[in-house]
Protein backbone atom coordinates (compact mmCIF):
# COMPACT_ATOMS: atom_id res chain seq x y z
CA UNK A 1 0.00 0.00 0.00
CA UNK A 2 1.38 3.39 -0.87
CA UNK A 3 1.37 5.92 1.89
CA UNK A 4 -1.07 8.80 2.19
CA UNK A 5 1.58 11.49 2.51
CA UNK A 6 5.07 11.03 1.17
CA UNK A 7 7.71 13.63 1.93
CA UNK A 8 11.05 13.32 0.17
CA UNK A 9 14.24 15.26 0.92
CA UNK A 10 12.30 18.28 2.08
CA UNK A 11 14.17 21.52 2.79
CA UNK A 12 12.45 24.64 4.06
CA UNK A 13 14.51 27.79 4.31
CA UNK A 14 14.03 31.15 5.87
CA UNK A 15 15.85 34.25 4.78
CA UNK A 16 18.10 35.95 7.27
CA UNK A 17 18.30 39.05 5.14
CA UNK A 18 21.62 40.42 3.96
CA UNK A 19 24.31 41.88 6.15
CA UNK A 20 25.10 44.71 3.77
CA UNK A 21 23.99 45.87 0.35
CA UNK A 22 26.89 44.16 -1.31
CA UNK A 23 26.55 40.79 0.22
CA UNK A 24 24.29 38.00 -0.83
CA UNK A 25 21.08 37.27 0.99
CA UNK A 26 21.68 34.57 3.61
CA UNK A 27 19.38 31.63 4.20
CA UNK A 28 19.14 29.06 6.93
CA UNK A 29 17.32 25.77 6.93
CA UNK A 30 14.48 25.32 9.39
CA UNK A 31 13.66 21.91 7.94
CA UNK A 32 16.60 19.97 6.61
CA UNK A 33 16.32 16.98 4.30
CA UNK A 34 13.23 15.46 5.90
CA UNK A 35 11.88 12.16 4.65
CA UNK A 36 8.59 11.00 6.05
CA UNK A 37 5.71 8.83 5.00
CA UNK A 38 2.40 8.90 6.80
CA UNK A 39 -0.28 6.26 6.37
CA UNK A 40 -3.94 7.04 6.07
CA UNK A 41 -5.95 7.22 9.27
CA UNK A 42 -2.93 7.54 11.55
CA UNK A 43 -2.27 10.12 14.23
CA UNK A 44 1.37 11.07 13.96
CA UNK A 45 2.91 12.96 16.85
CA UNK A 46 5.66 15.43 16.04
CA UNK A 47 7.73 16.27 19.06
CA UNK A 48 10.87 18.26 19.77
CA UNK A 49 12.11 21.33 21.61
CA UNK A 50 11.28 24.86 20.50
CA UNK A 51 13.30 25.74 17.45
CA UNK A 52 13.38 22.18 16.15
CA UNK A 53 11.26 23.01 13.10
CA UNK A 54 8.04 21.22 14.06
CA UNK A 55 5.68 24.01 13.10
CA UNK A 56 7.57 24.82 9.92
CA UNK A 57 7.28 21.21 8.78
CA UNK A 58 3.57 21.24 9.60
CA UNK A 59 3.05 24.41 7.63
CA UNK A 60 5.02 23.10 4.66
CA UNK A 61 2.77 20.02 4.60
CA UNK A 62 -0.27 22.29 4.44
CA UNK A 63 1.18 24.28 1.56
CA UNK A 64 1.27 27.31 3.83
CA UNK A 65 5.05 27.63 3.73
CA UNK A 66 6.85 27.21 0.46
CA UNK A 67 9.70 24.74 0.34
CA UNK A 68 12.90 24.96 -1.61
CA UNK A 69 13.92 21.43 -2.25
CA UNK A 70 12.30 18.01 -2.23
CA UNK A 71 8.71 16.98 -2.71
CA UNK A 72 5.46 16.49 -0.83
CA UNK A 73 3.02 14.06 -2.33
CA UNK A 74 -0.55 13.39 -1.19
CA UNK A 75 -2.73 10.42 -2.15
CA UNK A 76 -6.24 11.73 -1.62
CA UNK A 77 -9.31 9.62 -2.25
CA UNK A 78 -10.09 11.59 -5.40
CA UNK A 79 -6.60 11.44 -6.77
CA UNK A 80 -3.10 12.39 -5.89
CA UNK A 81 -1.61 15.83 -5.60
CA UNK A 82 2.01 16.85 -5.83
CA UNK A 83 2.57 20.05 -3.89
CA UNK A 84 5.55 21.21 -5.92
CA UNK A 85 3.56 21.76 -9.11
CA UNK A 86 0.06 22.82 -8.26
CA UNK A 87 -2.17 24.76 -10.60
CA UNK A 88 -4.45 27.44 -9.13
CA UNK A 89 -7.44 25.16 -9.47
CA UNK A 90 -5.73 22.23 -7.83
CA UNK A 91 -4.55 24.48 -5.03
CA UNK A 92 -8.16 25.26 -4.24
CA UNK A 93 -9.01 21.57 -4.18
CA UNK A 94 -6.00 20.90 -2.02
CA UNK A 95 -6.96 23.59 0.48
CA UNK A 96 -10.31 21.95 1.05
CA UNK A 97 -8.63 18.67 1.97
CA UNK A 98 -6.15 19.89 4.55
CA UNK A 99 -6.73 22.07 7.60
CA UNK A 100 -4.93 23.49 10.60
CA UNK A 101 -6.06 23.67 14.22
CA UNK A 102 -4.27 26.45 16.04
CA UNK A 103 -2.81 26.53 19.52
CA UNK A 104 -4.46 29.51 21.05
CA UNK A 105 -8.26 29.44 21.08
CA UNK A 106 -8.28 33.05 22.25
CA UNK A 107 -6.43 34.68 19.37
CA UNK A 108 -7.41 32.38 16.53
CA UNK A 109 -11.12 33.23 16.50
CA UNK A 110 -12.28 36.57 15.17
CA UNK A 111 -14.03 38.44 17.99
CA UNK A 112 -16.34 40.17 15.50
CA UNK A 113 -17.80 37.06 13.93
CA UNK A 114 -20.51 34.87 15.39
CA UNK A 115 -19.65 31.26 16.00
CA UNK A 116 -21.88 30.27 13.10
CA UNK A 117 -19.98 32.58 10.74
CA UNK A 118 -16.62 31.38 12.01
CA UNK A 119 -17.50 27.77 11.39
CA UNK A 120 -19.14 28.53 8.02
CA UNK A 121 -16.23 30.56 6.66
CA UNK A 122 -14.23 27.70 5.10
CA UNK A 123 -17.36 26.43 3.32
CA UNK A 124 -18.06 29.85 1.88
CA UNK A 125 -14.46 30.64 1.02
CA UNK A 126 -14.08 27.37 -0.84
CA UNK A 127 -17.52 27.63 -2.44
CA UNK A 128 -18.49 24.21 -1.19
CA UNK A 129 -22.16 24.87 -0.56
CA UNK A 130 -24.83 26.17 -2.90
CA UNK A 131 -27.22 27.89 -0.52
CA UNK A 132 -27.30 29.47 2.89
CA UNK A 133 -29.53 26.73 4.22
CA UNK A 134 -27.10 24.07 3.06
CA UNK A 135 -24.29 25.95 4.81
CA UNK A 136 -26.38 26.21 7.97
CA UNK A 137 -27.07 22.50 7.91
CA UNK A 138 -23.40 21.66 7.54
CA UNK A 139 -22.51 24.04 10.38
CA UNK A 140 -25.11 22.56 12.69
CA UNK A 141 -24.05 19.03 11.87
CA UNK A 142 -20.38 19.66 12.65
CA UNK A 143 -21.19 21.76 15.73
CA UNK A 144 -23.15 18.86 17.16
CA UNK A 145 -20.31 16.49 16.46
CA UNK A 146 -18.00 18.82 18.35
CA UNK A 147 -20.46 18.90 21.27
CA UNK A 148 -21.26 22.58 20.93
CA UNK A 149 -24.65 23.81 22.00
CA UNK A 150 -26.32 24.70 18.68
CA UNK A 151 -28.54 27.26 20.37
CA UNK A 152 -25.42 29.30 21.06
CA UNK A 153 -24.22 29.55 17.46
CA UNK A 154 -25.25 33.17 17.17
CA UNK A 155 -23.06 34.24 20.05
CA UNK A 156 -19.60 35.72 19.78
CA UNK A 157 -16.43 33.87 20.85
CA UNK A 158 -15.87 35.99 23.95
CA UNK A 159 -18.80 34.39 25.69
CA UNK A 160 -17.17 30.95 25.53
CA UNK A 161 -14.55 29.33 27.77
CA UNK A 162 -11.17 28.12 26.51
CA UNK A 163 -12.33 24.54 26.07
CA UNK A 164 -15.43 25.55 24.15
CA UNK A 165 -13.43 27.89 21.95
CA UNK A 166 -11.13 25.05 21.04
CA UNK A 167 -14.23 23.04 20.08
CA UNK A 168 -15.23 25.92 17.82
CA UNK A 169 -11.75 25.88 16.23
CA UNK A 170 -12.04 22.17 15.66
CA UNK A 171 -15.51 22.52 14.14
CA UNK A 172 -14.18 25.18 11.75
CA UNK A 173 -11.31 22.94 10.72
CA UNK A 174 -13.55 19.95 10.08
CA UNK A 175 -16.54 21.56 8.39
CA UNK A 176 -15.07 21.26 4.89
CA UNK A 177 -14.44 17.55 5.55
CA UNK A 178 -10.69 17.53 5.16
CA UNK A 179 -8.68 14.34 4.97
CA UNK A 180 -5.63 15.69 6.75
CA UNK A 181 -5.33 17.92 9.81
CA UNK A 182 -2.31 19.54 11.38
CA UNK A 183 -2.98 20.24 15.05
CA UNK A 184 -0.25 22.61 16.23
CA UNK A 185 -0.07 22.58 20.05
CA UNK A 186 -3.85 22.45 20.01
CA UNK A 187 -4.32 21.52 23.65
CA UNK A 188 -1.30 23.31 25.14
CA UNK A 189 -3.28 26.29 26.40
CA UNK A 190 -5.94 24.23 28.18
CA UNK A 191 -6.22 22.88 31.71
CA UNK A 192 -5.73 19.11 31.98
CA UNK A 193 -9.34 18.42 32.89
CA UNK A 194 -10.46 20.24 29.72
CA UNK A 195 -7.56 18.96 27.62
CA UNK A 196 -8.64 15.36 28.20
CA UNK A 197 -12.08 16.17 26.78
CA UNK A 198 -10.66 17.82 23.66
CA UNK A 199 -8.34 14.88 23.02
CA UNK A 200 -11.27 12.50 23.42
CA UNK A 201 -13.31 14.53 20.95
CA UNK A 202 -10.50 14.67 18.38
CA UNK A 203 -9.97 10.94 18.64
CA UNK A 204 -13.62 10.04 18.16
CA UNK A 205 -13.99 12.37 15.18
CA UNK A 206 -10.74 11.08 13.72
CA UNK A 207 -12.12 7.55 13.94
CA UNK A 208 -15.44 8.45 12.47
CA UNK A 209 -14.15 10.51 9.55
CA UNK A 210 -11.03 8.43 8.90
CA UNK A 211 -8.86 11.51 9.35
CA UNK A 212 -5.11 11.55 9.28
CA UNK A 213 -3.67 13.92 11.88
CA UNK A 214 -0.25 15.40 12.45
CA UNK A 215 -0.22 16.33 16.12
CA UNK A 216 2.52 18.79 16.94
CA UNK A 217 3.31 19.09 20.64
CA UNK A 218 6.16 19.59 23.03
CA UNK A 219 4.27 17.59 25.66
CA UNK A 220 5.41 13.98 25.55
CA UNK A 221 2.75 12.73 27.96
CA UNK A 222 0.00 13.99 25.69
CA UNK A 223 1.73 12.51 22.64
CA UNK A 224 2.15 9.18 24.42
CA UNK A 225 -1.54 9.04 25.09
CA UNK A 226 -2.96 10.36 21.86
CA UNK A 227 -0.77 9.32 18.91
CA UNK A 228 -0.19 6.13 16.93
CA UNK A 229 3.24 7.02 15.67
CA UNK A 230 5.82 9.52 16.79
CA UNK A 231 8.45 11.52 14.92
CA UNK A 232 11.14 13.24 16.99
CA UNK A 233 12.69 16.37 15.53
CA UNK A 234 15.90 18.16 16.41
CA UNK A 235 17.32 21.20 14.65
CA UNK A 236 15.27 20.69 11.50
CA UNK A 237 15.85 16.97 11.19
CA UNK A 238 13.78 13.95 12.07
CA UNK A 239 16.07 11.88 14.25
CA UNK A 240 13.67 9.05 15.06
CA UNK A 241 10.34 7.86 13.71
CA UNK A 242 8.54 4.80 15.06
CA UNK A 243 5.23 3.45 16.34
CA UNK A 244 4.28 4.89 19.72
CA UNK A 245 5.00 1.79 21.78
CA UNK A 246 8.45 1.51 20.28
CA UNK A 247 9.31 5.15 20.94
CA UNK A 248 8.16 5.13 24.54
CA UNK A 249 9.28 1.65 25.56
CA UNK A 250 12.43 1.23 23.48
CA UNK A 251 13.71 4.63 22.36
CA UNK A 252 16.81 4.27 20.19
CA UNK A 253 18.13 7.73 19.48
CA UNK A 254 20.09 9.33 22.35
CA UNK A 255 17.99 12.48 21.95
CA UNK A 256 14.71 10.59 22.26
CA UNK A 257 16.08 8.84 25.34
CA UNK A 258 17.12 12.15 26.89
CA UNK A 259 13.74 13.74 26.16
CA UNK A 260 11.90 10.86 27.81
CA UNK A 261 14.17 11.07 30.86
CA UNK A 262 13.26 14.71 31.30
CA UNK A 263 9.50 14.11 31.52
CA UNK A 264 8.47 14.18 35.18
CA UNK A 265 6.74 11.07 36.46
CA UNK A 266 3.52 11.52 38.42
CA UNK A 267 4.67 8.79 40.78
CA UNK A 268 6.44 10.52 43.70
CA UNK A 269 8.21 7.28 44.64
CA UNK A 270 10.06 7.40 41.35
CA UNK A 271 12.40 10.35 41.17
CA UNK A 272 13.25 10.43 37.51
CA UNK A 273 14.35 13.78 36.19
CA UNK A 274 17.81 14.03 37.73
CA UNK A 275 19.70 12.68 34.75
CA UNK A 276 18.99 15.37 32.29
CA UNK A 277 20.35 16.74 29.08
CA UNK A 278 22.80 19.59 29.52
CA UNK A 279 23.03 22.72 27.42
CA UNK A 280 20.48 23.95 24.94
CA UNK A 281 19.49 23.37 21.35
CA UNK A 282 22.05 25.25 19.19
CA UNK A 283 20.94 28.23 17.17
CA UNK A 284 19.74 27.31 13.74
CA UNK A 285 22.35 29.70 12.31
CA UNK A 286 25.23 27.55 13.51
CA UNK A 287 24.08 24.16 12.38
CA UNK A 288 27.05 21.90 13.06
CA UNK A 289 28.74 19.72 10.51
CA UNK A 290 27.94 16.06 11.09
CA UNK A 291 25.20 14.98 13.48
CA UNK A 292 22.91 17.79 14.64
CA UNK A 293 22.77 16.42 18.20
CA UNK A 294 26.55 16.12 18.74
CA UNK A 295 26.91 19.06 21.14
CA UNK A 296 24.61 17.50 23.75
CA UNK A 297 24.98 13.79 23.08
CA UNK A 298 26.53 11.54 25.74
CA UNK A 299 27.68 9.00 23.16
CA UNK A 300 29.35 11.42 20.77
CA UNK A 301 32.41 10.20 18.83
CA UNK A 302 34.70 11.76 16.23
CA UNK A 303 32.65 10.05 13.55
CA UNK A 304 29.58 12.03 14.66
CA UNK A 305 31.37 15.31 14.06
CA UNK A 306 32.21 14.39 10.49
CA UNK A 307 29.43 12.29 9.03
CA UNK A 308 25.83 13.29 9.00
CA UNK A 309 23.67 10.26 9.81
CA UNK A 310 20.60 9.67 7.68
CA UNK A 311 17.41 7.91 8.79
CA UNK A 312 17.98 4.16 8.68
CA UNK A 313 15.61 1.32 9.38
CA UNK A 314 16.55 -0.29 12.69
CA UNK A 315 14.11 -2.92 13.98
CA UNK A 316 10.76 -1.11 13.84
CA UNK A 317 12.34 2.32 14.06
CA UNK A 318 13.78 4.74 11.63
CA UNK A 319 16.75 6.30 13.42
CA UNK A 320 19.40 8.79 12.39
CA UNK A 321 22.36 7.81 14.55
CA UNK A 322 25.57 6.01 13.71
CA UNK A 323 26.17 4.62 17.19
CA UNK A 324 23.28 2.21 17.42
CA UNK A 325 23.68 -1.10 19.11
CA UNK A 326 21.08 -3.64 20.11
Amino acid sequence: MSSFIKVNNLDVQYSRGRRSLFEKEEFFKAVDNVNLSINKGKIVGLVGESGSGKSTLGRALLGAKEFHHGSIHYNFEEGSIDLSNLSKKNLRDFRSKVQLIFQDPYNSLSPRMTVRDIIAEPLEALGMTKSKSETDNRVIEIAQKCQLNINHLNRFPHSFSGGQRQRISIARSLVAQPEFIVADESVAALDVSIQAGILQLLKSIQNEMGLTIMFISHDLSVISNFCDEVAVMYLGKIVEYAPKNEIFLKPKHPYTQALLNAVPSINPHKKNIQKTLEGEIPSIYDRPQGCVFQSRCSKVTDQCRQNEPSLKKFHNHEVACINLDD
Partner: protein, 322 residues
Amino acid sequence: MTLVKIENLKIHFDTDEGQLLALDDVSFNVDQGEILGIAGESGSGKSITAKSLMQLNDENAIYDQNSKVLYENQNLLEFDDEKMIPYRGKIFSMVFQEPMASFAPAIRIGDQMIEQLQIHEQLSDEAARQRSIEALTSVGIPNAKNLIDQYSYEFSGGMRQRAMIAMALSTNPKLLIADEPTTALDVTIQAQIINLIKKEVQNRNMGVIFITHDLALLAQTADRILIMYMGKIVESGTVFQVLTNPQHPYTKALIESSPNIENFQKKLLPIGGEVPLLKDRPQGCVFQNRCSQFINNKCDKDSPLIKEIEDNHFISCHLHHE
Protein backbone atom coordinates in the same frame (compact mmCIF):
# COMPACT_ATOMS: atom_id res chain seq x y z
CA MET B 1 10.65 24.99 61.71
CA THR B 2 7.76 27.07 60.48
CA LEU B 3 8.83 29.94 58.30
CA VAL B 4 5.57 31.54 57.22
CA LYS B 5 2.08 30.88 58.49
CA ILE B 6 -0.99 31.86 56.51
CA GLU B 7 -4.20 31.98 58.54
CA ASN B 8 -7.75 32.30 57.25
CA LEU B 9 -6.71 34.18 54.17
CA LYS B 10 -9.87 35.49 52.57
CA ILE B 11 -9.91 37.91 49.65
CA HIS B 12 -12.72 39.57 47.78
CA PHE B 13 -12.18 41.48 44.56
CA ASP B 14 -14.13 44.67 44.16
CA THR B 15 -15.45 44.59 40.59
CA ASP B 16 -18.27 46.04 38.52
CA GLU B 17 -20.20 42.90 39.30
CA GLY B 18 -19.87 43.43 43.04
CA GLN B 19 -17.46 42.02 45.60
CA LEU B 20 -16.45 38.59 44.41
CA LEU B 21 -14.95 36.01 46.72
CA ALA B 22 -11.64 34.81 45.26
CA LEU B 23 -9.91 33.16 48.22
CA ASP B 24 -11.92 31.48 50.94
CA ASP B 25 -10.34 30.70 54.28
CA VAL B 26 -6.97 29.52 53.08
CA SER B 27 -4.63 28.41 55.87
CA PHE B 28 -1.27 26.69 55.56
CA ASN B 29 2.33 27.06 56.58
CA VAL B 30 5.69 26.73 54.88
CA ASP B 31 8.65 25.26 56.73
CA GLN B 32 12.33 25.98 56.31
CA GLY B 33 13.96 23.79 53.68
CA GLU B 34 10.60 22.63 52.39
CA ILE B 35 9.09 22.80 48.92
CA LEU B 36 5.37 23.33 49.23
CA GLY B 37 3.51 22.71 45.99
CA ILE B 38 0.25 24.44 45.14
CA ALA B 39 -1.70 22.86 42.29
CA GLY B 40 -5.01 23.57 40.64
CA GLU B 41 -6.54 24.70 37.37
CA SER B 42 -6.62 28.25 36.06
CA GLY B 43 -8.69 30.45 38.31
CA SER B 44 -8.24 28.27 41.39
CA GLY B 45 -6.49 31.05 43.32
CA LYS B 46 -2.92 29.70 43.33
CA SER B 47 -1.30 32.91 42.18
CA ILE B 48 -3.54 35.14 44.30
CA THR B 49 -2.45 33.16 47.35
CA ALA B 50 1.21 33.61 46.50
CA LYS B 51 0.85 37.28 45.71
CA SER B 52 -0.90 37.90 49.02
CA LEU B 53 2.30 37.05 50.86
CA MET B 54 3.98 40.04 49.26
CA GLN B 55 0.78 42.08 49.00
CA LEU B 56 1.14 42.21 45.26
CA ASN B 57 -2.49 41.64 44.38
CA ASP B 58 -4.36 44.20 42.31
CA GLU B 59 -5.61 47.28 44.12
CA ASN B 60 -9.20 46.07 44.14
CA ALA B 61 -8.31 43.15 46.42
CA ILE B 62 -9.98 43.38 49.82
CA TYR B 63 -8.37 41.32 52.57
CA ASP B 64 -10.68 40.02 55.25
CA GLN B 65 -10.09 41.36 58.76
CA ASN B 66 -9.23 37.97 60.21
CA SER B 67 -6.72 37.12 57.48
CA LYS B 68 -3.12 36.81 58.59
CA VAL B 69 0.22 36.30 56.92
CA LEU B 70 2.53 35.63 59.85
CA TYR B 71 6.29 35.96 59.59
CA GLU B 72 8.29 36.10 62.83
CA ASN B 73 5.06 36.72 64.77
CA GLN B 74 4.14 39.79 62.75
CA ASN B 75 1.09 40.01 60.53
CA LEU B 76 2.40 41.30 57.21
CA LEU B 77 -1.07 42.21 56.02
CA GLU B 78 -1.00 45.13 58.48
CA PHE B 79 2.14 46.57 56.90
CA ASP B 80 2.13 49.52 54.51
CA ASP B 81 4.18 49.70 51.31
CA GLU B 82 7.19 51.15 53.09
CA LYS B 83 7.33 48.39 55.67
CA MET B 84 6.72 45.76 52.95
CA ILE B 85 9.91 46.62 51.03
CA PRO B 86 12.10 43.91 52.65
CA TYR B 87 9.38 41.35 51.96
CA ARG B 88 9.37 42.14 48.27
CA GLY B 89 12.66 40.76 47.01
CA LYS B 90 14.75 40.31 50.13
CA ILE B 91 13.09 38.05 52.71
CA PHE B 92 10.57 36.80 50.18
CA SER B 93 11.58 36.56 46.55
CA MET B 94 9.58 35.62 43.49
CA VAL B 95 10.21 33.85 40.19
CA PHE B 96 7.52 34.49 37.61
CA GLN B 97 6.19 32.35 34.80
CA GLU B 98 7.16 34.46 31.82
CA PRO B 99 10.80 35.49 32.03
CA MET B 100 10.48 37.53 28.86
CA ALA B 101 7.79 39.68 30.40
CA SER B 102 9.34 39.99 33.83
CA PHE B 103 12.65 41.55 32.82
CA ALA B 104 12.58 45.13 31.56
CA PRO B 105 13.58 44.83 27.90
CA ALA B 106 15.52 48.10 27.67
CA ILE B 107 17.68 47.69 30.79
CA ARG B 108 20.69 45.40 30.94
CA ILE B 109 20.12 42.23 32.98
CA GLY B 110 23.00 43.19 35.26
CA ASP B 111 21.64 46.66 35.97
CA GLN B 112 18.30 45.15 37.00
CA MET B 113 20.04 42.76 39.36
CA ILE B 114 22.21 45.49 40.82
CA GLU B 115 19.23 47.78 41.33
CA GLN B 116 17.41 45.12 43.32
CA LEU B 117 20.47 44.39 45.47
CA GLN B 118 21.02 48.05 46.25
CA ILE B 119 17.41 48.58 47.27
CA HIS B 120 17.71 45.89 49.89
CA GLU B 121 21.34 46.17 50.99
CA GLN B 122 23.93 48.89 51.39
CA LEU B 123 26.25 47.86 48.60
CA SER B 124 28.64 49.77 46.35
CA ASP B 125 28.10 49.45 42.60
CA GLU B 126 31.18 47.27 42.31
CA ALA B 127 30.18 44.95 45.16
CA ALA B 128 26.63 44.61 43.84
CA ARG B 129 27.97 43.81 40.40
CA GLN B 130 30.26 41.19 41.86
CA ARG B 131 27.38 39.60 43.80
CA SER B 132 25.27 39.55 40.64
CA ILE B 133 28.02 37.84 38.66
CA GLU B 134 28.38 35.24 41.41
CA ALA B 135 24.63 34.68 41.44
CA LEU B 136 24.52 34.19 37.67
CA THR B 137 27.47 31.80 37.79
CA SER B 138 25.88 29.75 40.55
CA VAL B 139 22.80 29.04 38.43
CA GLY B 140 24.95 27.74 35.61
CA ILE B 141 25.23 30.73 33.30
CA PRO B 142 28.63 30.42 31.64
CA ASN B 143 30.76 33.50 31.18
CA ALA B 144 28.54 35.56 33.49
CA LYS B 145 31.14 38.33 33.58
CA ASN B 146 30.33 39.29 30.02
CA LEU B 147 26.72 38.16 29.78
CA ILE B 148 25.72 40.38 32.69
CA ASP B 149 25.82 43.36 30.35
CA GLN B 150 23.40 41.84 27.88
CA TYR B 151 19.69 42.48 27.50
CA SER B 152 17.04 39.91 28.28
CA TYR B 153 16.09 39.44 24.62
CA GLU B 154 19.63 38.26 23.92
CA PHE B 155 19.11 35.32 26.27
CA SER B 156 17.31 32.09 25.37
CA GLY B 157 14.21 31.12 27.36
CA GLY B 158 16.15 28.77 29.62
CA MET B 159 18.91 31.33 30.26
CA ARG B 160 16.35 34.02 31.03
CA GLN B 161 14.68 31.80 33.60
CA ARG B 162 18.07 31.01 35.14
CA ALA B 163 18.82 34.73 35.33
CA MET B 164 15.41 35.28 36.94
CA ILE B 165 16.25 32.65 39.56
CA ALA B 166 19.73 34.13 40.06
CA MET B 167 18.15 37.52 40.65
CA ALA B 168 15.63 36.09 43.10
CA LEU B 169 18.33 34.23 45.02
CA SER B 170 20.95 36.99 45.03
CA THR B 171 19.40 38.60 48.12
CA ASN B 172 19.50 35.29 50.03
CA PRO B 173 15.74 35.09 50.59
CA LYS B 174 14.19 32.96 53.30
CA LEU B 175 11.26 32.09 51.06
CA LEU B 176 11.22 31.68 47.30
CA ILE B 177 7.87 31.89 45.56
CA ALA B 178 8.01 30.23 42.13
CA ASP B 179 4.86 30.80 40.08
CA GLU B 180 4.80 28.33 37.16
CA PRO B 181 8.57 28.82 36.72
CA THR B 182 8.93 26.21 33.97
CA THR B 183 5.63 26.37 32.12
CA ALA B 184 7.06 28.23 29.15
CA LEU B 185 10.12 25.98 28.87
CA ASP B 186 10.98 22.78 27.03
CA VAL B 187 11.08 19.58 29.11
CA THR B 188 14.85 19.27 29.02
CA ILE B 189 15.29 22.86 30.21
CA GLN B 190 12.49 22.34 32.72
CA ALA B 191 14.41 19.42 34.21
CA GLN B 192 17.53 21.59 34.49
CA ILE B 193 15.62 24.39 36.25
CA ILE B 194 13.88 21.98 38.64
CA ASN B 195 17.16 20.37 39.61
CA LEU B 196 18.64 23.82 40.14
CA ILE B 197 15.82 24.89 42.47
CA LYS B 198 16.06 21.63 44.43
CA LYS B 199 19.81 22.06 44.84
CA GLU B 200 19.43 25.64 46.07
CA VAL B 201 16.77 24.62 48.60
CA GLN B 202 19.17 22.12 50.11
CA ASN B 203 22.12 24.50 50.12
CA ARG B 204 20.27 27.43 51.62
CA ASN B 205 17.64 25.75 53.75
CA MET B 206 15.08 28.18 52.40
CA GLY B 207 11.38 27.51 51.96
CA VAL B 208 9.78 27.36 48.53
CA ILE B 209 6.22 27.79 47.38
CA PHE B 210 6.03 26.09 44.00
CA ILE B 211 2.93 26.87 42.00
CA THR B 212 2.05 24.78 38.96
CA HIS B 213 -0.83 23.09 37.21
CA ASP B 214 1.37 20.05 36.51
CA LEU B 215 0.95 17.35 39.16
CA ALA B 216 3.82 15.29 37.77
CA LEU B 217 6.15 18.22 38.28
CA LEU B 218 5.08 18.39 41.92
CA ALA B 219 5.57 14.64 42.30
CA GLN B 220 9.20 15.25 41.41
CA THR B 221 9.80 18.38 43.48
CA ALA B 222 7.40 19.00 46.34
CA ASP B 223 7.45 17.73 49.90
CA ARG B 224 3.85 18.70 50.57
CA ILE B 225 1.02 19.63 48.21
CA LEU B 226 -2.06 21.81 48.45
CA ILE B 227 -4.78 21.19 45.87
CA MET B 228 -6.85 24.31 45.28
CA TYR B 229 -10.19 24.76 43.59
CA MET B 230 -12.15 28.02 43.31
CA GLY B 231 -10.15 29.71 46.04
CA LYS B 232 -10.32 26.88 48.55
CA ILE B 233 -7.83 24.24 49.62
CA VAL B 234 -9.73 21.02 48.96
CA GLU B 235 -6.94 18.60 49.86
CA SER B 236 -3.50 18.85 51.41
CA GLY B 237 -0.86 16.45 52.62
CA THR B 238 2.55 15.05 51.81
CA VAL B 239 3.33 14.45 48.17
CA PHE B 240 2.88 10.72 48.77
CA GLN B 241 -0.46 11.09 50.55
CA VAL B 242 -1.97 13.38 47.95
CA LEU B 243 -0.68 11.72 44.80
CA THR B 244 -0.69 8.05 45.73
CA ASN B 245 -3.70 8.08 48.06
CA PRO B 246 -5.87 10.99 46.90
CA GLN B 247 -9.14 11.31 48.79
CA HIS B 248 -10.94 14.35 47.44
CA PRO B 249 -13.00 13.64 44.29
CA TYR B 250 -11.38 16.65 42.61
CA THR B 251 -7.84 15.44 43.27
CA LYS B 252 -8.78 12.01 42.00
CA ALA B 253 -10.39 13.45 38.88
CA LEU B 254 -7.39 15.67 38.23
CA ILE B 255 -5.07 12.67 38.32
CA GLU B 256 -7.45 10.66 36.11
CA SER B 257 -7.44 13.39 33.50
CA SER B 258 -3.65 13.82 33.39
CA PRO B 259 -1.84 11.97 30.64
CA ASN B 260 0.93 9.77 32.01
CA ILE B 261 3.93 8.80 29.97
CA GLU B 262 4.47 5.61 31.97
CA ASN B 263 0.94 4.43 31.37
CA PHE B 264 0.15 5.67 27.92
CA GLN B 265 -2.64 3.18 27.24
CA LYS B 266 -4.60 4.76 30.08
CA LYS B 267 -7.94 6.25 29.11
CA LEU B 268 -8.05 9.92 30.02
CA LEU B 269 -11.19 10.92 31.84
CA PRO B 270 -12.07 14.58 31.43
CA ILE B 271 -13.77 16.33 34.33
CA GLY B 272 -17.23 17.22 33.08
CA GLY B 273 -18.42 20.81 33.08
CA GLU B 274 -16.27 23.79 33.83
CA VAL B 275 -15.08 25.88 36.75
CA PRO B 276 -17.95 28.30 37.54
CA LEU B 277 -17.28 32.02 37.21
CA LEU B 278 -16.50 33.82 40.45
CA LYS B 279 -19.82 35.61 40.31
CA ASP B 280 -21.65 32.27 40.07
CA ARG B 281 -19.98 30.78 43.13
CA PRO B 282 -22.35 28.05 44.33
CA GLN B 283 -23.72 27.62 47.81
CA GLY B 284 -22.25 24.56 49.52
CA CYS B 285 -19.26 22.72 48.05
CA VAL B 286 -17.51 24.59 45.24
CA PHE B 287 -16.89 21.39 43.25
CA GLN B 288 -20.50 20.17 43.32
CA ASN B 289 -21.35 20.80 39.65
CA ARG B 290 -18.48 18.63 38.39
CA CYS B 291 -18.34 16.02 41.15
CA SER B 292 -19.18 12.40 40.33
CA GLN B 293 -20.07 11.67 43.96
CA PHE B 294 -22.40 14.59 44.49
CA ILE B 295 -24.78 14.07 47.41
CA ASN B 296 -28.14 15.70 46.88
CA ASN B 297 -29.32 18.07 49.59
CA LYS B 298 -25.92 18.03 51.23
CA CYS B 299 -23.19 19.18 48.86
CA ASP B 300 -25.42 21.92 47.44
CA LYS B 301 -26.30 23.19 50.91
CA ASP B 302 -23.39 23.13 53.30
CA SER B 303 -19.81 24.02 52.69
CA PRO B 304 -17.73 21.00 53.79
CA LEU B 305 -15.36 21.53 56.72
CA ILE B 306 -11.70 20.62 56.69
CA LYS B 307 -11.01 17.26 58.27
CA GLU B 308 -7.77 15.43 59.02
CA ILE B 309 -8.21 11.91 57.65
CA GLU B 310 -4.73 10.68 58.49
CA ASP B 311 -1.63 12.32 59.92
CA ASN B 312 -1.25 15.70 58.19
CA HIS B 313 -3.59 14.67 55.35
CA PHE B 314 -6.54 17.06 55.18
CA ILE B 315 -9.55 17.14 52.90
CA SER B 316 -12.64 19.23 52.66
CA CYS B 317 -15.43 16.97 51.42
CA HIS B 318 -18.77 15.70 52.72
CA LEU B 319 -17.88 12.12 51.82
CA HIS B 320 -15.60 12.09 54.84
CA HIS B 321 -17.89 13.73 57.36
CA GLU B 322 -20.09 10.89 58.46
